[in-house]
């Protein structure tokens, strides 16, 4: 399993989750968990995904998502789970 965390931050608008999920499905990325909240007016979403069976390298998925974010007008980041687990779990 290669767990990657995808975060989306920005102005709330129709279809953000749909677009991101469609891209992930096309890329062979499995979504393990989704949570979403609004923090001081900003849309915040976090997905825990498994990219072990992805049909392209993690770097291209990360670049594509960044590009997709620019199209929708939100910031999308794709990062290894290790950095968050390391910081928040002993």
């Amino acid at each position: 399993m290669k767990k990657m965390i995808i975060t989306v931050v920005g102005q709330d608008t129709v279809g953000i989750i749909a677009k991101v999920c469609t891209y992930l499905a096309d890329s062979g990325v499995n979504i393990l968990d989704i949570s979403q909240t609004i923090v001081s007016g900003w849309f915040n979403m976090m997905m825990i995904t498994d990219m072990a069976a992805a049909n392209k390298p993690v770097k291209s998925i990360s670049d594509d998502l960044e590009e997709l974010g620019k199209e929708i007008g939100v910031q999308i980041k794709c990062q290894s789970e290790d950095i968050f687990k390391g910081m928040h779990r002993i």
Binding site: I5, T7, V9, D33, S35, Q36, T37, V39, N44, M45, M46, I48, V58, K59, S62, K77, C78, Q79, S80, E81, D82, I83, F84, K85, G86, M87, H88, I90
Partner: protein
């Protein structure tokens, strides 16, 4: 499982509070490059560095992309050249030739600095080490990426005052030879007491002889994160203040530990240490001085500064130690003047003097760092400042250092611009009274009584 608030907190630290990994430093031993012919030696050095470090920059960039954490610098440290060149170098130009080789290798592999143009002369100088020290002004004036350091004392050996006096001349000469660039050469030259073998930070990084063939050391940075955390406990007691720093330091250090382990795995080179230092940059919001102000001081340098810094340094260590399997290097809060906007502001406001900075170095890492002084400061006075700072390190069994820049052609109140991470600084006044008869005595200061622990 991770929750969204934890993920958001981490990304906020990275995006808004300047959390980054300051440097991945690859230590490389050059002991197996030694040859009595200087050209063969240079070939060996070039080949070894460009082979061992060929993937360093790419690996660093890949890890930064995957983890979403900036890794600002990729650097190399090598075995002190005073040892490596001992058999081949008969004149200062031979050492300069090695410096140029190191510079070329650094450019080839794409690192921004290479440390280890160094001599370890805490007790005495070999003739080669003295040659290397005398070659430093030319070496720094004719290269771009070389960093030079000289260890002049230790708790175990005392202070080599002959070398201290010599460094007064060498620093001034380095300033003269780079005077067209505001004496920039001196920003790449540091003298130390109790220099560690595994320090990843420049200018003092070198790969000690106690180290393995190659090793990965990582330095983290997070003054902005600590300051931001303290804003949320404004006005609370010291207990709350200290707990907040500890918890934040744990998180910051953990990032360094993960990056270091990953770099080690991908490069196939053992992990050495994480250096816990809080390293500032001139960027707004990335300042150690701002942390002191957040604790309740009007400016860094105000009464209470030494206590605040002592507290900060100690809590950073307490929080950071548990976050990493091996801690080393300098590990503390850095207080460079030109590289920290809050320190610059304090110096301009007159709150911060060299004497107060000296007191502050008793309780934190590392020393009088990136301080611009008038270009007409006598060489003996520079040696006196060095001796004072090294004495603090020797007696307190800690690393201390001096990286001071006599800016040729400029005086107190004028500004000097070094650019990039090196920042800018006002030229600070130096005590005018003379110490020439003291530093000219010759010989060494004996090791202190508490060094005899056997």
């Amino acid at each position: 499982m991770l929750n969204i608030f934890e993920v958001t907190e981490t990304n906020k630290m990275i995006e808004q509070e300047n959390l980054d990994v300051r440097t991945i430093t690859l230590g490389i031993s050059l002991l197996d490059c030694i040859d009595s012919n200087v050209d063969t030696l240079c070939d060996n050095i070039y080949n070894k560095i460009t082979t061992v470090a060929k993937d360093l920059v790419k690996t660093g960039n890949d890890i930064a992309d995957e983890f979403g954490v900036p890794i600002v610098n990729k650097r190399i440290s090598v075995t002190p050249i005073g040892l490596i060149g001992a058999s081949a170098c008969k004149k200062t130009d031979d050492f300069v030739k090695i410096a140029k080789t190191l510079d070329k290798a650094a450019k080839q592999v794409g690192v921004n600095f290479i440390g280890g143009y160094s001599a370890l002369v805490a007790k005495g100088m070999t003739s080669a080490e003295e040659l290397l020290i005398r070659s430093i002004p030319d070496a720094l004036a004719s290269t771009e990426r070389i960093m030079s350091s000289v260890n002049l004392g230790s708790t175990k050996t005392g202070i080599n005052m002959d070398a201290v006096r010599l460094m007064g001349d060498v620093i001034k000469e380095t300033a003269m030879k780079t005077k067209d660039a505001d004496s920039l050469g001196c920003t790449k030259l540091v003298v130390l007491c109790n220099a560690p073998d595994d320090n990843p930070f420049m200018a003092g990084a070198f790969h000690g002889v106690t180290e393995a063939d190659a090793i990965i050391n990582v330095g983290v940075s997070g003054p902005g994160v600590v300051k931001h955390a303290l804003q949320s406990v404004h006005g609370e007691s010291f207990e709350v203040l200290c707990e907040t720093i500890k918890k934040t330091a744990f998180k910051v250090t953990r990032v360094g530990q993960i990056v270091a382990k990953e770099a080690s795995k991908r490069l196939g080179i053992p992990f050495g240490i994480v250096d816990l230092s809080l390293a500032p940059t001139p960027a707004i919001g990335d300042s150690v001085a701002d942390i002191l102000c957040e604790m309740g001081l009007e400016y860094a340098g105000a009464p209470g500064t030494t206590a605040a810094l002592a507290l900060l340094n100690d809590q950073v260590k307490k929080g950071g130690v548990m976050a990493s399997s091996y801690v080393g290097g300098l590990s503390g809060a850095f207080i460079p003047v030109s590289e920290d906007q809050g320190m610059i502001d304090a110096a301009v406001a007159g709150a911060l003097t060299i004497e107060k900075l000296e007191a502050m170095t008793c309780v934190c890492s590392v020393g009088l760092d990136m301080i611009a002084i008038p270009g007409d400061t006598p060489n003996t006075t520079i040696a006196g400042i060095i001796a004072d700072e090294l004495a603090i390190g020797m007696i307190n069994q800690k690393t201390t250092a001096v990286r001071i820049i006599p800016v040729i052609g400029k005086g107190v109140g004028e500004n000097v611009e070094f650019g990039g991470l090196l920042g800018h600084a006002p030229i600070m006044p130096v005590n005018k009274f003379d110490c020439a008869d003291f530093v000219n005595r010759g010989g060494r200061i004996p090791a202190p009584i508490h060094s005899f622990k056997n």
